[in-house]
């Protein structure tokens, strides 16, 4: 009888104690984690923004199956229309009205920098996934901004490191006359000159963004007879540059390096008009590295969206995993703890383990140097003879970042 009373009295107490203690170990979060995405979903950049969002959604499907801290990650998107003022007001709206836990975006560097500044003031974490300005995690970097994409400093350094191994000494630099073009050119030339002091710059050509007729530039460059040309171009100018290279047969006469020339999104629409023999660097290929992890990611992405993932999809995918892992590690939705958890965090990705560098909040990504070539397996031109430049090789050191930020 005494025993019975004892059991009746103790059992609920014990279960209650057990319940509370288990709660303490893994606190249940009552509400979903909210991610606010601002990106350009109209106009030509929308292709990249949608690709990134698809990668992000794919990762969320995987993550939400088992949940994060007992809850799910949700997201809302806003269109920045590639404009700084719209992007900024969308960011404010997401933080103040939608009460998102963190912001993610965007393809435009100007929007990213403006939003980054806002997030610094509001103490809201902001993860940049496509835009490539090195200033985001370089001189304008701060505690609340992270980048899961590559940037111009990494791209330029990759080019410098790659070209320093080649026998060329006479160079020409050509590109789009805007920040991206000049940033790549500066980083590439600075690193090349450091690694190989005997290189000589014969001249430079800069055209306005979207310049329709590049043939005169190419013929003028060829007339100067450089051994290698560094093209600093992107977006729609990239197609024009590639077509002009093919039309003039330039790749057969001089060595050419263009960052992202080996991007599938660049090469596929060009079809047989893509030039062969152009050196390019790229931070992601769906056909390389040929590992089970990458194959699995590509297969899942193709099943979901009908086409292979581009580099933005890869960045979107790892961004989601970084967010999930950081919340798991932090064990709470507290923004400061989330940032602490994200610093130095390592996650598994389709291309191997990726670290979020603690000193500048820049994801350490490898860079793939390859040469465009026609191969029988594909009906479009791909990057071949790929050499992997590790993240440590292509990233500015923590000391360099520190110096840039002190300026």
């Amino acid at each position: 009888m005494v025993l019975k009373i004892f059991i009746i009295a103790i059992l609920p107490l014990a279960t209650a104690a057990l319940f509370f203690s288990s709660c303490k170990k893994a606190p249940k979060i009552e509400r979903p984690i909210k991610v606010g995405i601002i990106d350009c979903y109209s106009g030509p950049p929308a292709v990249y923004a949608k690709d990134a969002l698809n990668g992000f959604k794919l990762a969320l499907n995987e993550i939400n199956k088992e949940g994060v801290l007992g809850t799910k990650i949700e997201y809302t998107t806003r269109d920045t229309k590639f404009k700084v003022d719209i992007g900024l007001s969308m960011a404010k709206e997401l933080v103040m009205r939608e009460k998102v836990d963190l912001l993610v975006g965007t393809i435009s560097s100007s929007v990213a920098l403006a939003v980054s500044d806002y997030c610094k003031g509001e103490k809201v974490p902001f993860m940049v996934w496509i835009s490539k300005s090195e200033r985001i995690t370089g001189e304008k970097g701060h505690r609340y901004v992270f980048s899961t994409g590559e940037n111009t400093a990494m791209a330029g350094k990759a080019g410098g490191v790659a070209l320093a191994k080649k026998p060329y000494t006479k160079y020409w630099i050509a590109g789009d006359d805007y920040e991206y073009g000049h940033a790549i050119a500066d980083a590439a030339w600075r690193n090349l000159k450091k690694l190989k002091p005997e290189v000589e710059l014969l001249g430079q050509s800069w055209w306005k963004v979207g310049e329709p007729d590049l043939i005169p530039y190419i013929t003028a460059i060829l007339a100067a007879k450089p051994e290698a040309v560094i093209f600093c171009t992107g977006g729609r100018s990239m197609t024009n540059v590639m077509k002009a290279i093919k039309a003039t047969g330039m790749a057969e006469k001089v060595a050419i390096w263009i960052h992202t020339a080996t991007d599938h999104a660049v090469l596929k629409p060009l079809g047989p008009e893509a030039p062969e023999g152009v050196m390019g660097t790229m931070d992601y290929h769906f056909y390389y590295p040929d590992t089970p992890a990458n194959k699995e990611f590509v297969k899942a992405f193709k099943e979901a969206y009908g086409e292979p993932p581009g580099f933005p999809a890869f960045h979107g995918y790892i961004t989601a995993h970084f967010i999930a892992e950081a919340f798991k590690k932090a064990g709470t939705l507290d923004r400061e703890k989330f940032i602490d958890a994200l610093e130095g965090l390592k996650i598994a990705s389709p291309v191997g383990e990726i670290e979020m560098r603690a000193c500048d909040h820049q994801a350490v990504l490898p860079m793939y140097l390859g040469v465009t070539k026609k191969v029988p397996e594909y009906d479009f031109i791909i990057s071949t003879d790929i050499v992997t430049l590790t993240g440590d090789e292509v990233m500015p050191t923590c000391e360099e970042i520190k110096k840039a930020r002190e300026k």
């Binding site: 109209s42 106009g43 030509p44 950049p45 929308a46 292709v47 050509a174 006359d177 001249g203 430079q204 050509s205 800069w206 055209w207 306005k208 979207g210 310049e211 329709p212 007729d213 043939i215 005169p216 530039y217 013929t219 003028a220 460059i221 060829l222 007339a223 729609r236 990239m238 197609t239 024009n240 077509k243 002009a244 093919k246 039309a247 003039t248 047969g249 629409p269 060009l270 079809g271 047989p272 008009e273």
Partner: protein
């Protein structure tokens, strides 16, 4: 700075001038006959390029597809412009220039969005036919075959235009209408249809320019803005409404650009605009006689 590089530079500059001429001749023709500063002309050029892309891909991206696209795409643009003229423009010819300017600007924005809805925001690409791919050696330097092709097409278009304006009845009427439209109406000619025809022909040229430029660039939104500014500068320095002024202006623009690139590559963008400034300082009303 040897002979080879100078001559290739001249030839590539001239080939660019040919595209500019075809587009600007259309713009200038409309300016002359209708007195409409058609800012939407660039959008029609863009539609020409996109239409060429669609026709080309529907025909299996073959060489014959390209030739057919080159003929059909300008006709598509002509059709679009005919609808625009009959539905909108023909009610507005009596309005003042500022109104027309605002109207065509609005039309440009509308056409831009229609292009986005129809073709989407992606970059599109058209392949040149086999025979025009690659380059040929000339004077010891290589010149893309497609540019040589443009050098043949440009003068052909100029000859056809000359024949049209000087030898056909409608051409003569439109020249007369450019000088004195009331008089043309007074002698019993249906001016309304002359205007429609002139507008459609001008827009056909925009479409032809778009189709011709398609294999050399990425076809995308925004290509209209690039060309329309250059086009207005060219027709201004050539003399508003004068087709041959458009030819002279295009040649100046194309050649100064390509030589600028050779001489001072870092600041090449400045050269054509500097040429425009010089021409306007010396001859504010344009090089050739303006009908305005």
């Amino acid at each position: 700075m040897d002979f080879a590089s100078l001559s290739t530079q001249l030839l590539v500059g001239l080939s660019r001038a040919m595209i500019l001429f075809i587009v600007c001749a259309g713009l200038s023709f409309i300016l002359g006959v209708l007195r409409v500063p058609n800012i939407a002309h660039g959008s029609l050029y863009m539609i020409g390029a996109f239409a060429a892309y669609s026709i080309f891909t529907h025909l299996g991206s073959s060489s014959s597809g390209f030739w057919l696209a080159l003929i059909l795409a300008p006709l598509v643009v002509a059709l679009v412009s005919l609808v625009a003229e009959r539905a909108l423009f023909c009610h507005l010819y009596q309005r003042e220039h500022l109104m027309l300017l605002l109207f065509t600007f609005a039309l440009m924005l509308i056409l831009d969005d229609l292009v986005k809805i129809t073709w989407g925001p992606e970059y599109c690409s058209v392949l040149a036919p086999n025979i025009l791919r690659g380059s040929v050696s000339m004077f010891g330097a290589s010149l893309p075959r497609y540019n040589l092709f443009l050098l043949i097409v440009g003068p052909l278009v100029a000859i056809f235009l000359w024949l049209f304006v000087n030898k056909t009845k409608i051409g003569k009427i439109s020249r007369a209408a450019a000088v004195d439209r009331e008089m043309v109406g007074a002698v019993g000619i249906n001016v309304s249809w002359v205007f429609a025809a002139a507008f459609v022909i001008g827009c056909f040229l925009a479409g032809l320019g778009g189709a011709l430029v398609a294999p050399t660039v990425s076809i995308c939104l925004g290509m209209d803005h690039d060309i329309i500014i250059e086009a207005f500068l060219i027709v201004t320095i050539g003399g508003l409404g004068n087709i041959w002024g458009a030819l002279v202006g295009s040649l100046i623009f194309g050649v100064t650009h390509s030589f600028g690139v050779l001489l001072w590559p870092q600041f090449a963008i400045v050269f054509p605009y500097a040429a425009v400034v010089i021409v306007l300082l010396l001859r504010p009303r344009g090089l050739l006689k303006s009908v305005w």
